[in-house]
Amino acid sequence: MRFAYYPGCTIGTTAIEFGLSTDAVCEALGVELVELEDWNCCGASSAHSLDHELSLRLPARNVALAQGTGLDVVTSCPACYQHVLAADLRLREDKAWRREMEEMLGFTYDGQERTRHLLEVLSTPELIEKVRQRTTHPLKGLRVVSYYGCVLVRPPEITGWDDPEHPVRMDLLMEAIGAEVVDWSYKVDCCGASLALSRSDVVITLSTRLAQAAKDAGADVIACACGMCQINLDTRQALEEKVPVLYFTELMGIAFGLPGVEKWLKKHTVDPRPVLRERGILP
Protein backbone atom coordinates (compact mmCIF):
# COMPACT_ATOMS: atom_id res chain seq x y z
CA MET A 1 0.00 0.00 0.00
CA ARG A 2 1.59 3.26 -1.16
CA PHE A 3 0.48 6.85 -0.78
CA ALA A 4 1.80 10.28 -1.62
CA TYR A 5 2.24 11.99 1.73
CA TYR A 6 1.46 15.66 2.42
CA PRO A 7 2.59 16.15 6.03
CA GLY A 8 1.82 19.87 6.48
CA CYS A 9 3.75 22.55 8.35
CA THR A 10 3.18 21.45 11.96
CA ILE A 11 4.41 17.91 11.52
CA GLY A 12 8.08 18.79 12.03
CA THR A 13 7.42 21.31 14.81
CA THR A 14 4.47 21.66 17.18
CA ALA A 15 3.06 18.28 16.13
CA ILE A 16 6.41 16.51 15.87
CA GLU A 17 5.21 13.50 17.87
CA PHE A 18 2.34 13.11 15.38
CA GLY A 19 4.83 12.99 12.52
CA LEU A 20 7.22 10.58 14.23
CA SER A 21 4.46 8.22 15.35
CA THR A 22 2.79 8.36 11.91
CA ASP A 23 6.05 7.32 10.24
CA ALA A 24 6.63 4.49 12.70
CA VAL A 25 3.08 3.12 12.70
CA CYS A 26 2.73 3.23 8.92
CA GLU A 27 6.02 1.41 8.54
CA ALA A 28 4.87 -1.26 11.00
CA LEU A 29 1.68 -1.76 9.00
CA GLY A 30 3.38 -1.84 5.62
CA VAL A 31 1.81 1.45 4.54
CA GLU A 32 4.39 3.31 2.50
CA LEU A 33 4.28 7.12 2.60
CA VAL A 34 6.16 8.92 -0.18
CA GLU A 35 6.52 12.57 0.79
CA LEU A 36 5.37 15.05 -1.87
CA GLU A 37 8.41 16.78 -3.29
CA ASP A 38 8.67 20.46 -2.24
CA TRP A 39 5.12 20.80 -0.84
CA ASN A 40 3.90 24.17 0.42
CA CYS A 41 1.61 25.38 3.20
CA CYS A 42 -2.12 25.01 2.47
CA GLY A 43 -2.87 28.52 3.77
CA ALA A 44 -4.75 27.13 6.79
CA SER A 45 -7.32 29.42 8.42
CA SER A 46 -5.53 32.57 7.39
CA ALA A 47 -5.84 32.27 3.62
CA HIS A 48 -9.59 31.69 3.59
CA SER A 49 -10.07 34.41 6.18
CA LEU A 50 -8.53 37.08 3.98
CA ASP A 51 -8.64 35.91 0.35
CA HIS A 52 -10.80 33.17 -1.13
CA GLU A 53 -8.77 32.80 -4.32
CA LEU A 54 -5.49 32.37 -2.43
CA SER A 55 -7.10 29.77 -0.15
CA LEU A 56 -7.68 27.54 -3.18
CA ARG A 57 -4.51 28.33 -5.09
CA LEU A 58 -2.08 27.40 -2.31
CA PRO A 59 -3.44 23.86 -1.82
CA ALA A 60 -3.88 23.51 -5.60
CA ARG A 61 -0.09 23.52 -5.90
CA ASN A 62 0.04 20.43 -3.67
CA VAL A 63 -2.63 18.73 -5.79
CA ALA A 64 -0.46 19.58 -8.79
CA LEU A 65 2.60 17.94 -7.22
CA ALA A 66 0.70 14.67 -6.83
CA GLN A 67 -0.51 14.51 -10.44
CA GLY A 68 0.98 11.73 -12.45
CA THR A 69 2.12 9.73 -9.42
CA GLY A 70 -0.98 7.54 -9.52
CA LEU A 71 -0.93 7.64 -5.72
CA ASP A 72 -3.72 8.92 -3.47
CA VAL A 73 -2.57 11.79 -1.28
CA VAL A 74 -2.60 11.16 2.45
CA THR A 75 -2.39 14.00 4.93
CA SER A 76 -2.34 13.85 8.70
CA CYS A 77 -3.49 17.43 9.32
CA PRO A 78 -7.28 17.97 9.09
CA ALA A 79 -6.90 21.59 7.95
CA CYS A 80 -4.51 20.59 5.14
CA TYR A 81 -6.93 17.81 4.32
CA GLN A 82 -9.93 20.11 4.07
CA HIS A 83 -8.13 22.70 1.96
CA VAL A 84 -6.55 20.23 -0.45
CA LEU A 85 -9.95 18.55 -0.86
CA ALA A 86 -11.58 21.90 -1.64
CA ALA A 87 -8.91 22.78 -4.19
CA ASP A 88 -9.15 19.34 -5.79
CA LEU A 89 -12.92 19.70 -6.05
CA ARG A 90 -12.61 23.05 -7.80
CA LEU A 91 -9.97 21.68 -10.20
CA ARG A 92 -12.38 18.86 -10.98
CA GLU A 93 -15.46 21.02 -11.52
CA ASP A 94 -14.33 24.44 -12.74
CA LYS A 95 -12.67 23.93 -16.13
CA ALA A 96 -11.63 27.55 -16.64
CA TRP A 97 -9.96 27.68 -13.24
CA ARG A 98 -8.28 24.35 -13.88
CA ARG A 99 -6.73 25.72 -17.09
CA GLU A 100 -5.59 28.85 -15.27
CA MET A 101 -3.92 26.79 -12.53
CA GLU A 102 -2.38 24.34 -15.00
CA GLU A 103 -0.80 27.23 -16.83
CA MET A 104 0.36 29.01 -13.70
CA LEU A 105 1.86 25.90 -12.09
CA GLY A 106 2.88 23.96 -15.20
CA PHE A 107 1.06 20.66 -14.70
CA THR A 108 -1.76 18.61 -16.19
CA TYR A 109 -4.66 17.69 -13.98
CA ASP A 110 -5.76 14.09 -14.43
CA GLY A 111 -7.97 13.79 -11.35
CA GLN A 112 -6.86 10.22 -10.64
CA GLU A 113 -5.33 10.93 -7.25
CA ARG A 114 -7.77 11.27 -4.38
CA THR A 115 -7.04 13.17 -1.18
CA ARG A 116 -7.54 11.28 2.06
CA HIS A 117 -6.91 11.71 5.73
CA LEU A 118 -4.56 9.34 7.56
CA LEU A 119 -7.33 8.23 9.93
CA GLU A 120 -9.58 7.37 6.99
CA VAL A 121 -6.82 5.27 5.46
CA LEU A 122 -5.85 3.45 8.66
CA SER A 123 -9.41 2.64 9.74
CA THR A 124 -10.61 0.61 6.77
CA PRO A 125 -11.78 -2.93 7.71
CA GLU A 126 -8.68 -4.36 6.06
CA LEU A 127 -6.27 -2.14 8.01
CA ILE A 128 -8.16 -2.60 11.27
CA GLU A 129 -7.66 -6.34 10.94
CA LYS A 130 -3.96 -5.75 10.36
CA VAL A 131 -3.81 -3.44 13.37
CA ARG A 132 -5.43 -6.14 15.53
CA GLN A 133 -2.84 -8.69 14.39
CA ARG A 134 0.04 -6.27 14.89
CA THR A 135 -1.03 -5.37 18.46
CA THR A 136 1.43 -7.00 20.82
CA HIS A 137 0.84 -4.77 23.87
CA PRO A 138 -2.95 -4.21 24.02
CA LEU A 139 -3.95 -1.07 25.91
CA LYS A 140 -6.06 -3.08 28.34
CA GLY A 141 -7.82 -0.99 30.95
CA LEU A 142 -6.95 2.34 29.35
CA ARG A 143 -10.10 4.43 29.04
CA VAL A 144 -10.01 6.53 25.87
CA VAL A 145 -12.35 9.11 24.34
CA SER A 146 -12.01 9.73 20.61
CA TYR A 147 -11.82 13.38 19.67
CA TYR A 148 -12.27 14.38 16.02
CA GLY A 149 -12.49 18.15 16.36
CA CYS A 150 -14.01 20.21 13.59
CA VAL A 151 -13.03 19.80 9.95
CA LEU A 152 -11.87 16.18 9.88
CA VAL A 153 -15.41 15.02 9.09
CA ARG A 154 -16.95 18.34 8.02
CA PRO A 155 -18.41 19.57 5.77
CA PRO A 156 -19.78 16.09 5.00
CA GLU A 157 -20.33 17.01 1.33
CA ILE A 158 -16.57 16.95 0.77
CA THR A 159 -15.31 14.56 3.47
CA GLY A 160 -17.97 11.85 3.59
CA TRP A 161 -16.07 8.91 5.10
CA ASP A 162 -17.45 9.03 8.63
CA ASP A 163 -20.57 10.41 10.30
CA PRO A 164 -20.24 14.19 10.77
CA GLU A 165 -22.13 14.20 14.09
CA HIS A 166 -21.19 10.83 15.55
CA PRO A 167 -18.10 9.47 13.83
CA VAL A 168 -16.94 6.02 14.92
CA ARG A 169 -13.90 5.00 12.93
CA MET A 170 -11.39 6.23 15.50
CA ASP A 171 -13.32 4.21 18.11
CA LEU A 172 -12.94 1.07 15.98
CA LEU A 173 -9.22 1.66 15.73
CA MET A 174 -8.91 2.22 19.48
CA GLU A 175 -10.85 -0.98 20.14
CA ALA A 176 -8.54 -2.86 17.79
CA ILE A 177 -5.54 -1.91 19.94
CA GLY A 178 -7.32 -3.10 23.07
CA ALA A 179 -8.30 0.24 24.60
CA GLU A 180 -11.59 0.70 26.41
CA VAL A 181 -13.49 3.24 24.34
CA VAL A 182 -15.64 5.60 26.39
CA ASP A 183 -18.59 7.38 24.86
CA TRP A 184 -18.93 11.13 25.26
CA SER A 185 -20.81 14.00 23.63
CA TYR A 186 -17.91 16.13 22.47
CA LYS A 187 -16.34 14.10 19.66
CA VAL A 188 -16.82 16.78 17.02
CA ASP A 189 -16.86 19.95 19.14
CA CYS A 190 -14.31 22.55 18.06
CA CYS A 191 -11.31 23.49 20.25
CA GLY A 192 -11.15 27.09 19.03
CA ALA A 193 -8.55 26.30 16.38
CA SER A 194 -6.78 29.33 14.94
CA LEU A 195 -7.90 31.64 17.75
CA ALA A 196 -5.17 29.96 19.86
CA LEU A 197 -2.98 33.07 19.93
CA SER A 198 -5.22 35.90 18.79
CA ARG A 199 -8.08 35.11 21.20
CA SER A 200 -6.54 32.64 23.61
CA ASP A 201 -9.37 33.35 26.09
CA VAL A 202 -11.78 31.57 23.73
CA VAL A 203 -9.46 28.60 23.28
CA ILE A 204 -8.90 28.31 27.04
CA THR A 205 -12.68 28.21 27.59
CA LEU A 206 -13.30 25.61 24.88
CA SER A 207 -10.31 23.39 25.67
CA THR A 208 -11.11 23.38 29.36
CA ARG A 209 -14.71 22.42 28.63
CA LEU A 210 -13.53 19.53 26.42
CA ALA A 211 -10.98 18.27 28.94
CA GLN A 212 -13.55 18.46 31.74
CA ALA A 213 -16.10 16.56 29.63
CA ALA A 214 -13.54 13.83 28.93
CA LYS A 215 -12.88 13.55 32.65
CA ASP A 216 -16.57 13.47 33.50
CA ALA A 217 -16.96 10.59 31.05
CA GLY A 218 -14.26 8.76 33.01
CA ALA A 219 -11.53 8.92 30.36
CA ASP A 220 -7.85 8.50 31.20
CA VAL A 221 -6.71 10.11 27.95
CA ILE A 222 -8.09 11.89 24.89
CA ALA A 223 -7.17 10.44 21.49
CA CYS A 224 -7.00 12.99 18.66
CA ALA A 225 -6.04 13.27 15.00
CA CYS A 226 -5.13 16.94 14.62
CA GLY A 227 -2.06 18.98 15.50
CA MET A 228 -4.13 22.06 16.27
CA CYS A 229 -6.58 20.19 18.55
CA GLN A 230 -3.67 18.53 20.31
CA ILE A 231 -1.67 21.66 21.07
CA ASN A 232 -4.76 23.63 22.09
CA LEU A 233 -5.97 20.97 24.49
CA ASP A 234 -2.48 20.07 25.69
CA THR A 235 -1.43 23.64 26.50
CA ARG A 236 -4.69 25.48 27.20
CA GLN A 237 -6.85 23.26 29.43
CA ALA A 238 -7.18 25.05 32.75
CA LEU A 239 -7.88 22.10 35.03
CA GLU A 240 -6.16 21.25 38.31
CA GLU A 241 -5.69 17.64 37.24
CA LYS A 242 -5.11 17.71 33.54
CA VAL A 243 -6.06 15.07 30.97
CA PRO A 244 -3.29 13.92 28.60
CA VAL A 245 -4.03 14.29 24.89
CA LEU A 246 -2.39 11.75 22.56
CA TYR A 247 -2.41 11.30 18.82
CA PHE A 248 -4.17 8.11 17.80
CA THR A 249 -0.94 7.07 16.10
CA GLU A 250 0.96 7.36 19.40
CA LEU A 251 -1.51 5.00 21.08
CA MET A 252 -1.12 2.61 18.15
CA GLY A 253 2.67 2.80 18.46
CA ILE A 254 2.45 1.91 22.15
CA ALA A 255 0.18 -1.06 21.36
CA PHE A 256 2.60 -2.23 18.67
CA GLY A 257 5.47 -2.03 21.16
CA LEU A 258 7.46 0.24 18.84
CA PRO A 259 10.80 1.73 19.82
CA GLY A 260 10.76 5.53 20.10
CA VAL A 261 7.51 5.77 22.06
CA GLU A 262 9.28 7.39 24.99
CA LYS A 263 10.66 10.07 22.65
CA TRP A 264 7.13 11.01 21.45
CA LEU A 265 5.60 11.06 24.90
CA LYS A 266 8.31 13.38 26.22
CA LYS A 267 7.09 16.07 23.81
CA HIS A 268 3.75 16.53 25.55
CA THR A 269 3.00 19.41 27.88
CA VAL A 270 0.60 17.25 29.94
CA ASP A 271 2.78 14.20 30.49
CA PRO A 272 0.79 11.06 29.60
CA ARG A 273 3.36 8.67 31.11
CA PRO A 274 2.10 8.65 34.73
CA VAL A 275 -1.41 7.48 33.80
CA LEU A 276 -0.02 4.99 31.26
CA ARG A 277 2.22 3.54 33.98
CA GLU A 278 -0.64 3.47 36.44
CA ARG A 279 -2.68 1.39 34.00
CA GLY A 280 0.24 -0.97 33.49
CA ILE A 281 0.71 0.04 29.86
CA LEU A 282 4.18 1.52 30.21
CA PRO A 283 6.73 -0.23 32.42
Binding site: C150, R154, C190, S198
Partner: protein, 183 residues
Protein backbone atom coordinates in the same frame (compact mmCIF):
# COMPACT_ATOMS: atom_id res chain seq x y z
CA UNK B 1 -26.70 52.93 22.91
CA UNK B 2 -28.68 53.72 19.80
CA UNK B 3 -26.65 53.51 16.62
CA UNK B 4 -27.96 54.51 13.23
CA UNK B 5 -26.90 51.88 10.74
CA UNK B 6 -26.89 52.30 7.01
CA UNK B 7 -29.41 50.09 5.28
CA UNK B 8 -28.50 48.48 1.98
CA UNK B 9 -31.40 46.56 0.43
CA UNK B 10 -29.09 44.81 -2.07
CA UNK B 11 -26.75 43.51 0.66
CA UNK B 12 -28.38 40.10 1.13
CA UNK B 13 -28.21 39.31 -2.55
CA UNK B 14 -24.65 40.55 -2.85
CA UNK B 15 -23.48 38.37 0.07
CA UNK B 16 -25.41 35.42 -1.32
CA UNK B 17 -23.74 35.86 -4.72
CA UNK B 18 -20.29 36.41 -3.31
CA UNK B 19 -20.34 33.44 -0.90
CA UNK B 20 -22.33 31.07 -3.09
CA UNK B 21 -24.45 30.29 -0.03
CA UNK B 22 -28.29 30.51 -0.16
CA UNK B 23 -28.57 32.90 2.79
CA UNK B 24 -32.04 34.14 1.84
CA UNK B 25 -33.44 30.67 2.60
CA UNK B 26 -32.89 31.07 6.36
CA UNK B 27 -36.09 30.90 8.44
CA UNK B 28 -34.30 31.63 11.71
CA UNK B 29 -34.47 28.29 13.53
CA UNK B 30 -31.17 29.34 15.20
CA UNK B 31 -29.69 25.86 15.13
CA UNK B 32 -26.43 27.48 13.96
CA UNK B 33 -26.25 29.68 17.03
CA UNK B 34 -27.15 26.78 19.33
CA UNK B 35 -24.23 24.65 18.10
CA UNK B 36 -21.63 27.39 17.57
CA UNK B 37 -18.65 26.95 19.93
CA UNK B 38 -17.70 30.64 19.76
CA UNK B 39 -21.19 32.22 19.73
CA UNK B 40 -20.83 33.10 23.39
CA UNK B 41 -17.97 35.48 22.53
CA UNK B 42 -19.68 37.12 19.52
CA UNK B 43 -21.51 40.44 19.59
CA UNK B 44 -24.15 39.18 17.13
CA UNK B 45 -24.78 35.41 17.10
CA UNK B 46 -24.52 33.47 13.82
CA UNK B 47 -28.30 33.36 13.21
CA UNK B 48 -28.52 37.07 13.95
CA UNK B 49 -25.79 37.78 11.41
CA UNK B 50 -27.74 35.83 8.78
CA UNK B 51 -30.89 37.80 9.66
CA UNK B 52 -29.06 41.13 9.54
CA UNK B 53 -27.64 40.19 6.13
CA UNK B 54 -31.15 39.41 4.89
CA UNK B 55 -32.38 42.74 6.22
CA UNK B 56 -29.62 44.70 4.49
CA UNK B 57 -27.94 45.86 7.71
CA UNK B 58 -24.56 46.20 6.07
CA UNK B 59 -22.86 48.45 8.63
CA UNK B 60 -23.94 46.36 11.59
CA UNK B 61 -22.69 43.17 9.97
CA UNK B 62 -19.40 44.40 8.55
CA UNK B 63 -18.38 46.17 11.75
CA UNK B 64 -19.28 43.24 14.01
CA UNK B 65 -16.68 41.18 15.88
CA UNK B 66 -18.65 38.02 15.03
CA UNK B 67 -17.29 37.90 11.49
CA UNK B 68 -13.74 37.74 12.88
CA UNK B 69 -14.48 35.16 15.55
CA UNK B 70 -15.95 32.45 13.32
CA UNK B 71 -13.26 29.75 13.17
CA UNK B 72 -14.83 27.90 10.24
CA UNK B 73 -15.53 24.70 12.19
CA UNK B 74 -18.52 23.97 9.91
CA UNK B 75 -20.83 22.82 12.72
CA UNK B 76 -23.57 25.25 11.65
CA UNK B 77 -23.36 24.31 7.98
CA UNK B 78 -23.52 20.60 8.81
CA UNK B 79 -26.70 21.07 10.87
CA UNK B 80 -28.59 23.72 8.88
CA UNK B 81 -31.96 22.39 7.65
CA UNK B 82 -31.70 24.71 4.64
CA UNK B 83 -28.15 23.71 3.63
CA UNK B 84 -26.77 27.14 4.42
CA UNK B 85 -23.05 26.91 5.13
CA UNK B 86 -22.22 29.86 7.33
CA UNK B 87 -18.43 29.45 7.16
CA UNK B 88 -18.16 30.60 3.51
CA UNK B 89 -20.63 33.39 4.33
CA UNK B 90 -18.37 34.60 7.15
CA UNK B 91 -15.38 34.44 4.78
CA UNK B 92 -17.20 36.62 2.25
CA UNK B 93 -18.23 39.07 4.97
CA UNK B 94 -14.62 39.44 6.08
CA UNK B 95 -13.51 40.22 2.51
CA UNK B 96 -16.27 42.79 2.17
CA UNK B 97 -15.42 44.34 5.54
CA UNK B 98 -11.78 44.77 4.53
CA UNK B 99 -12.64 46.14 1.11
CA UNK B 100 -15.13 48.56 2.67
CA UNK B 101 -12.60 49.88 5.18
CA UNK B 102 -14.32 48.46 8.26
CA UNK B 103 -12.00 47.84 11.18
CA UNK B 104 -11.23 44.13 11.71
CA UNK B 105 -10.76 42.52 15.14
CA UNK B 106 -7.10 43.62 15.52
CA UNK B 107 -5.50 40.52 17.03
CA UNK B 108 -7.24 38.08 14.68
CA UNK B 109 -6.35 40.17 11.65
CA UNK B 110 -2.73 40.55 12.80
CA UNK B 111 -2.36 36.79 13.10
CA UNK B 112 -3.75 36.06 9.65
CA UNK B 113 -1.54 38.71 8.04
CA UNK B 114 1.58 37.43 9.78
CA UNK B 115 0.71 33.86 8.80
CA UNK B 116 0.25 34.72 5.12
CA UNK B 117 3.46 36.79 5.09
CA UNK B 118 5.33 33.77 6.42
CA UNK B 119 4.04 31.50 3.65
CA UNK B 120 4.93 34.08 1.01
CA UNK B 121 8.44 34.33 2.40
CA UNK B 122 9.23 30.62 2.89
CA UNK B 123 6.53 28.61 1.11
CA UNK B 124 5.68 27.07 4.48
CA UNK B 125 4.91 28.62 7.83
CA UNK B 126 7.91 29.26 10.04
CA UNK B 127 6.34 29.54 13.47
CA UNK B 128 9.02 31.44 15.37
CA UNK B 129 9.40 34.34 12.92
CA UNK B 130 5.65 34.35 12.25
CA UNK B 131 4.97 34.65 15.97
CA UNK B 132 7.47 37.45 16.36
CA UNK B 133 5.85 39.35 13.53
CA UNK B 134 2.42 38.74 15.05
CA UNK B 135 3.60 40.01 18.43
CA UNK B 136 4.91 43.23 16.90
CA UNK B 137 1.78 43.72 14.81
CA UNK B 138 -0.63 43.12 17.65
CA UNK B 139 1.58 45.04 20.13
CA UNK B 140 1.05 42.22 22.59
CA UNK B 141 4.60 41.18 23.32
CA UNK B 142 4.40 39.14 26.49
CA UNK B 143 1.31 36.94 26.46
CA UNK B 144 2.01 33.22 26.07
CA UNK B 145 5.73 33.82 26.55
CA UNK B 146 6.10 30.99 29.06
CA UNK B 147 4.17 28.62 26.85
CA UNK B 148 6.41 29.53 23.91
CA UNK B 149 9.55 28.92 25.95
CA UNK B 150 8.14 25.58 27.09
CA UNK B 151 7.56 24.51 23.49
CA UNK B 152 11.05 25.63 22.45
CA UNK B 153 12.57 23.59 25.31
CA UNK B 154 10.63 20.55 24.12
CA UNK B 155 12.07 21.04 20.63
CA UNK B 156 8.65 21.81 19.14
CA UNK B 157 9.52 25.16 17.57
CA UNK B 158 12.36 25.33 15.08
CA UNK B 159 14.72 28.28 15.04
CA UNK B 160 15.70 28.33 11.40
CA UNK B 161 13.16 28.48 8.60
CA UNK B 162 13.38 26.29 5.54
CA UNK B 163 12.61 27.83 2.17
CA UNK B 164 11.01 25.56 -0.40
CA UNK B 165 12.45 25.53 -3.92
CA UNK B 166 9.16 26.54 -5.48
CA UNK B 167 8.80 29.71 -3.44
CA UNK B 168 8.70 31.92 -6.55
CA UNK B 169 5.75 29.87 -7.76
CA UNK B 170 4.03 30.36 -4.40
CA UNK B 171 4.60 34.12 -4.67
CA UNK B 172 2.95 34.10 -8.07
CA UNK B 173 -0.08 32.46 -6.50
CA UNK B 174 -0.38 35.52 -4.24
CA UNK B 175 -1.15 37.75 -7.25
CA UNK B 176 -4.87 37.29 -6.91
CA UNK B 177 -5.97 40.88 -7.40
CA UNK B 178 -6.83 41.21 -3.70
CA UNK B 179 -5.12 44.17 -2.04
CA UNK B 180 -5.13 42.22 1.22
CA UNK B 181 -2.60 39.63 0.15
CA UNK B 182 -0.73 41.42 -2.64
CA UNK B 183 0.66 44.29 -0.64
Amino acid sequence: MAVAYELDPTFGRVVQGRSGVPILRCYFCQKCTAGCPVAYAMDYKPAQIVRLVQLGQKDAVLSSTAIWLCVGCETCGTRCPNQIRLAPMFDALRYMALEGGYKPEPSVYALHRSFLDSIRLWGRVHELSMLMQYKLRSRDLFSDLMMGIGLILKGKISFLPERIRGVSQVRKLYETGSSEVER
